[in-house]
């Protein structure tokens, strides 16, 4: 990469800003601001910095409605909000999906709207760490905050996860490199293990790489559990790993002082899905008979955990919550977005800070193309192409303040650093407006029916 000179031409520095990219929620960023724009970001990784600095790239700037010719045309806020409210109020089976890249404050209005019209509220967990949450519900949830790892861990394992690419500061800020209270020498005091079929960039940074077979996760972790329980392994090679190596690894894990296992979608979405995670969680639980072990799912979006937490404290369930019957229902396979879309149940879809057009399976996107879609987002993307109403929001943590929950559940208030583009609105404001407009329509309907 070519050398880029440091940015020196700026008006002010805003310190301690929080990165709105991955689940690391690094809250130590300094924004260099000039003429109301962030021209430089200190401390962030390249993923976070580019998202923050190139926030105007393909930016949605004005509300739009799709006309009869199928073109998105610019309208004023009043018209766009009224159109969206009318669609939501008239819906029989609405889904409000996304939420993982917006604030808790926005969700507070969103859930009220969902309760009012009997919507399904769901987030990206439904296509990401949903199986992890199912496993948590099966066998438990031994977690910690990331500082525990920084201060205590002498062994870190990454499995089915490649933080060097996906969460670039995870290792440097939280787990592997930082010096902690009991780990004054940082990296030198820790053993880092990557368990992944792929020799990933994280594996290159690790002391040990365990390249088990693809889809071999379940068998591999099962074998470690067997060794921990004092069983003799019957096969010489399990999931592509020699028996002796498995025994050696299990012994090493037993003999740590504090171990942390981080797992990503590589574990969640291989063939055994939540059963892989069951096994990993139970392995960690078993290890606690000998020493201290914890684990943590490597959550992707900066507030994906926040939505799960928010829904759990408001209604008791983490995601895929269906209010159609006037009370919350949570049934995996029944009340999740993909299932509802592929069954063609949904008749109005609102997407808030997410891109189902890019991430959903073909069948689900096909149904989305056939029904009205309302998009609340800051960037143009595949979802905009199928949207019928577009409501341009603002960038949490840069242009608007808001609460988010890090992957380990630490709540962080992401402060506002610069003003949003004049024609955009805060997500929170948009959701409150929608709620109030739908309430008015419903009140009118109630009066009319009397």
């Amino acid at each position: 990469m070519a050398y880029e000179p440091p940015v020196t031409d700026y008006d002010e520095i805003v310190e301690n800003c929080t990165c709105a990219f991955c689940g690391c929620n690094c809250d130590d960023l300094d924004y260099l601001v000039k003429d109301g724009h962030v021209v430089g970001v200190r401390h962030a990784c390249r993923l976070g910095a580019s998202k923050i600095m190139e926030d105007m790239d393909q930016r949605l700037l004005v509300p739009m409605i799709r006309d009869e010719n199928g073109d998105l045309v610019e309208v004023d806020w009043e018209a766009a909000l009224d159109k969206a409210a009318e669609l939501i109020a008239g819906a029989v089976r609405p889904i409000f999906y996304g939420w993982s890249e917006t604030s808790i404050e926005t969700m507070k209005h969103g859930i009220r709207l969902g309760e009012l019209v009997g919507a399904v509220l769901d987030n990206q967990a439904t296509i990401c760490h949903g199986p992890s949450l199912q496993a948590v519900q099966n066998v438990g949830y031994p977690v910690m905050t990331l500082g525990e790892v920084k201060n205590r861990a002498d062994m870190c394992i990454y499995t089915g996860s490649n933080p060097m690419n996906s969460h670039p500061r995870h290792m440097s800020r939280y787990s592997t490199f930082p010096r902690g209270w009991f780990r004054q020498r940082g990296r030198f005091d820790r053993t880092v293990v990557t368990m992944d079929p792929k020799y990933s960039d994280t594996a290159k940074m690790s002391d040990i790489w365990v390249g088990f077979d693809q889809n071999g996760d379940y068998g591999f972790y099962n074998a470690i559990r067997a060794v921990l329980k004092g069983k003799e392994l019957q096969q010489d090679v399990i999931s592509g790993i020699a028996k002796e190596d498995i025994v050696e690894l299990a012994e090493a894990m037993k003999n740590t002082q504090f171990g942390a296992l981080f797992f990503g979608l590589g574990l969640t979405h291989t063939i055994s899905k939540q059963r892989n995670i069951d096994m990993a969680i139970q392995m960690v639980t078993d290890l606690n008979k000998y020493t201290k072990w914890v684990l943590m799912p490597m959550r992707g979006h900066f507030n994906v955990n926040g939505f799960n937490i928010f829904m759990a404290y408001e209604m008791g369930f983490p995601y895929g919550v269906d209010f159609a019957r006037g009370y919350p229902r949570y049934m995996n396979g029944e009340t999740n977005t993909i299932d509802l879309l592929t069954r063609k149940e949904c008749d109005v879809f609102m997407v808030i800070a997410a891109d189902p057009g890019a991430h959903y399976p073909g069948g689900a996107v096909k149904h989305l193309a056939e029904i009205p879609v309302i998009q609340v987002d800051i960037h143009w993307g595949p979802s905009t192409e199928i949207a019928d109403v577009v409501l341009p929001g603002s960038f949490i943590g840069v242009e608007a303040g808001g609460t988010s929950y890090r992957m380990d559940g630490v709540p962080i208030y992401m402060k506002k650093a610069i003003d949003k583009p004049e024609t955009c609105r805060d997500d929170e404001w948009i959701m409150r407006e929608l709620l109030e407009r739908v309430q008015k329509i419903k009140e009118k309907e109630a009066v009319a029916s009397k």
Binding site: D27, L146, G147, K289, T291, M315, G316, R325, G409, V410
Partner: protein, 569 residues
């Protein structure tokens, strides 16, 4: 707006009113002694009138609760109710959703509930949940017992600095008082270990639980906080833990109280879990006798019980090692949540059954504590919700306390295992609580223990937080009619909060936002600034958040009640 509650039978222990037929008046949210003739009359002739309930210890908001709700959808599915014109949907039994928590307390006539364990790092989460809970005011207690800074000050006996640290941190996290959970033991769980007894040092820290408890107590009294230290002792749930418990209470006996609003210098929480004699679950016996003997002779201690209700529930505590041992015991799914520099915590679902000898004994020990403590101002009714059972069982516990007949019946017809009477003295205790004592242990006592000067009594000037129950005390024999007692205390005829009628005939009629009650120490600013300067280098090195993003911003407490305390040296 003026109201007059007419002809009720009033139990107001703080004002020595025990079952007098009288009117209670309130105006603009406060109790008053006179109202004009325009006052709206609420006829409560011959009904029980009490101050609204005050729960001194429950886990209702915060990160642990959410772990429970996320990983136990089977619990959330119990107690699901449809939304109404007034209420949102409810869900959950042992870990109800936030709206459900508020509604259910309100229906029982409660107005204030203490959230008993707040990890400072995640205090914002607790406050977000408090915002989502309607109808009850919540003072949150931050955890200090395993805080690394606290342990250092305690080790070096730097009480001035510790006091400054506490007064700073109460402001930073918007907390009410000082909570300790398994001091040094939760820190030991950072290494998968525990401490045993109060003289066992935390690994690597070279400081004992006793030193931490004493230091925090001294600092608490130096500041003159409205509540004393609030202690979950070491060795919870271990047979043979009675000496640890008595040792814990006794180790602060010599510390002088510095507060005019409370009587105690130490509050022991869920004491029932801490008084098992014997050496194992085979030879375990009740230690309630030893402990109540001590408590009856010593006035520097108050406690809440943590009464077993014999339900399926979810245990959750900042005592991380204990939750892992519970998992080893019952094999149910284990959740853990350690918080950097501050505490550990864990959860395990638990099925308390009257068929189990140990659970039945625990049930009996809790009741023994209630019945063996002579002064009702020293004991509070709790289930350590949800650890010993959900709070919606309080009315049932009241019915047990008021009816010896019912207790004996439970033992006779094997609703509980014979261990309940073989290994405890419960069968020999025929004391029955009267309504005045019930009012003491559910509202007046806890309010006194927390030093509240605006609730827990029907004194003119106090908040108009009032509960009316559909019972005529002159007409009912609680000893014979436990079912009627349970029904009446479970569905208040009126719950009035700040002068607003929130519940009528057991149904929510109005929903209002909760207040957050926190303590603001004044006159200690210099020491606070000095300590913050000392703390910051370590804070920046060992926490994973920036200080600016650590503190609880004002907008997380939209309806605060700030208790100002003048620090006195």
């Amino acid at each position: 707006m003026e109201y007059i509650l007419k002809n009720g039978i009033v139990y107001d222990p703080a004002n020595d009113i025990a079952g007098e037929k009288m009117d209670v008046m309130f105006k603009d949210g406060k109790i008053v002694s006179n109202v004009s003739s325009d006052a709206k009359v609420l006829d409560v002739t011959d009904k029980i009138v009490m101050p609204a309930g005050v729960d001194p210890h429950a886990h209702i908001a915060g990160p642990k609760l959410v772990v429970g709700r996320i990983y136990r959808p089977e619990d959330s599915r119990k107690g699901v109710t449809p939304k109404t014109d007034v209420c949102r949907s409810e869900s959950g039994f042992s870990i109800p959703s936030c709206p459900a928590t508020g509604y259910r307390y309100s229906r029982m006539g409660y107005g204030t509930v203490v959230e008993a364990a707040v990890p400072p790092l995640e205090a914002k989460h607790t406050h977000e949940e408090i915002m989502a809970i309607p109808n009850i005011d919540v003072p949150p207690l931050p955890l200090f017992g395993n805080n690394w800074f606290v342990m250092q000050y305690a080790k070096e006996d730097r009480i001035d600095e510790l006091a400054a640290f506490i007064s700073s941190w109460l402001k930073i996290v918007k907390g009410y008082g000082v909570k300790l959970v398994n001091p040094c033991g939760s820190e030991a769980w950072g290494w998968g270990m525990n401490v045993h007894g109060i003289d066992d040092p935390a690994p690597y820290w070279d400081v004992t639980s006793k030193e931490v408890i004493r230091a925090l107590s001294k600092a608490n009294e130096m500041l003159g906080l409205p509540h004393s230290i609030h202690v979950h002792a070491n060795d919870i749930g271990h047979p043979g833990n009675t000496p640890t418990t008595i040792g814990t209470i006794d180790c602060v006996k010599d510390i002088t109280k510095n507060s005019g609003v409370r009587n105690q210098t130490i509050h022991m929480t869920h004491l029932q879990f801490h008084i098992y004699n014997g050496t194992s679950w085979r030879d375990v016996e009740s230690g309630a006798g030893d402990v109540t003997d001590y408590i009856n002779k010593n006035k520097h201690v108050t406690f809440d019980v943590g009464q077993i209700t014999l339900d399926e529930t979810t245990t959750m505590t900042a005592d991380g090692p204990h939750e892992y041992s519970l998992h080893a015991l019952n094999g149910l799914k284990w959740a853990n949540k350690d918080i950097e520099l501050e505490t550990s915590s864990g959860l395990v679902p638990f099925i308390y059954s009257g068929k189990s000898p140990v659970h039945s004994l625990m049930w009996a020990i809790g009741l023994e504590l209630f019945l063996g403590t002579e002064d009702p101002w020293q004991v509070c009714l709790t289930t350590d919700h949800p650890n010993a059972g959900p709070f919606i069982r309080y009315p049932r516990i009241i019915s047990w306390l008021m009816s010896n007949e019912r207790r004996q019946e439970m033992m006779d017809n094997k609703e509980v295992h014979p261990w309940a009477h073989r290994k405890s003295a419960l069968a020999t205790m025929d004391r029955e609580y009267d309504f005045n004592e019930i009012a003491t242990i559910t509202r007046a006592g806890p309010a006194k223990i927390y030093g509240f000067k605006d609730r827990g009594a029907l004194t003119p000037g106090f908040n108009a937080d009032i509960a009316v129950y559909d019972l005529n005390p002159n007409d009912i024999d609680p000893s014979r009619e436990p079912t009627a007692i349970e029904a009446a205390f479970g569905a208040a005829m009126y719950t009035i909060k700040d002068g607003q009628i929130l519940v009528k005939d057991g149904e929510i009629v109005k929903v209002v936002p909760s207040h957050t009650i926190w303590t603001n120490v004044k006159g200690f600013e210099e020491q606070e600034n000095a300590i913050m300067e000392k703390v910051m280098p370590d804070f920046n090195r060992f926490y994973t958040v920036k200080f600016e993003n650590y503190k609880v911003h004002d907008h997380f407490t939209p309806y605060p009640i700030v208790v100002d305390v003048q620090a006195s040296k």
